[in-house]
Amino acid sequence: MYAPDFAYYRADSVAEIGRLLRKHPGAKLLAGGHSLIPLLKLRLAAPPALIDIGRIGELKGISVADGRLRIGALTTHAQIAASSEVAAHAPALAAAAGVIGDPAVRNRGTIGGNVAHADPASDLPTVLLALGASFAVATDDGERAIPAGGFFQDMMTTALGEHDIVTAVDVPTAPEGQGQAYEKFSHPASRYAVIGAAAAVGLTGGKVGRVVVTLGGLVPAAIRAGSVEQALSGQAPSADAIADAAAAVSNDLGPDLIGDIYASAEYRRAMAPVCVKRALTAALKRASSVAEAPAARSPWWKPSWL
């Protein structure tokens, strides 16, 4: 399959991306290309020009300072999954990056492209919402920070304006004693998320303190599961309390769930509490044993042929 014809430009700096965007109306950025190229090949998009940002060094890399992890927009999923800093300070993000697609997809796809594309079946929006991340954005007249809570607006729709460039993702480092987890039900062919659930939980005096639960995959854009959070907050974290809280997720799911030939909306609705329960159980286990190393890739569902 061939992409529709386009003019190709290559930017060497963020400033140059801005200039090229203003000069070529309708141009799209090309980062890892692992969402955009499939769309072009299917002729679901036909931008007149692509601006290749893939070589810009200032957009790559991971650093920790002032209680936050800063991840450059062009950092690949594989680099995030392999980073000891991310494993230490945002273990749920490391886990989510490590279950994206397959190894070759993770070698090319970038965090900036993933959030800008905002595919409902993506993993990173769900986990970044749970961790209270915010996005550093270069605009026509400067810079701004957009919190994840206001960023993901609808299916493939974000708060980004036409000329906005995501330059970095800022993730608060996990507070002492917080347990994090990401649980994914993968599509057997593409491995995109059928359902993804993220949890970040703290324990105080044996009771659940601050708890954040988010869901993606089955909704147009990642959401907080407020009913689950409320049901669990202040409880002793017994298996029953976790299961009861997870069941409350039905109140957080609107009427319009995503369904396809592989997994219907009804099926996803029924599976959501299971996914939430597993995320909460894993996060609470880590909260109660802070010394425990972050879990490696552990999808709880695998295609039968593997």
Partner: protein, 154 residues
């Protein structure tokens, strides 16, 4: 048209390409390196896997212009003269292929897998080859082939 210069299997290759030309078509049609296959053409099957700057990548999901200035390794560049690469030996010894369509992609994915983890468990091999589909072998012999190569390298 755009000029690209890509080091393919150690040799610098240049060409004039349409920006929309995929890397896999540059390799197959302009360089005649037909060992890299197109299976699904939708980024899922891994038949088109090559190494770009040393890491496995799906060449059906990369424009040739993106690889400009990079080093690309295809199945044709893996053997050292008449000496097969340990993974090629492993596939030979363990009957890791039947029709062979998936094999070049399997082997190049396995190169990155073994580089990241020189002695993987069976589970880790299956995870590392998650993006490569085989319609013939049922995978067990492919896993054995990678284990054979890992043992040979150790």
């Amino acid at each position: 048209m755009a000029q690209v210069s890509i080091t393919v299997n150690g040799k610098q290759r240049t060409g004039d390409v349409e920006p929309r030309l995929l890397l896999v078509h540059f390799l197959r049609e302009q360089l005649d390196l037909t060992g890299t296959h197109v299976g699904c053409d939708t980024s899922q099957c891994g038949a088109c896997t090559v190494l770009v700057d040393g890491r496995s990548a799906k060449s059906c999901t990369i424009f040739a212009v993106q690889a400009d200035g990079s080093e690309v390794t295809t199945i044709e560049g893996l053997a050292d003269g008449d000496n097969l690469h340990p993974l090629q030996d492993g596939f030979w010894e363990e009957h890791g292929l039947q029709c062979g369509y998936c094999t070049p992609g399997m082997i190049l994915s396995a190169v990155t897998l073994l580089e990241d983890n020189p002695s993987p468990s069976e589970e880790q091999i299956r995870e590392g080859l998650d993006g490569n589909f085989c319609r013939c072998t049922g995978y067990q012999h492919i896993v054995n082939a990678v284990q054979n190569a890992a043992a040979g390298r150790a």
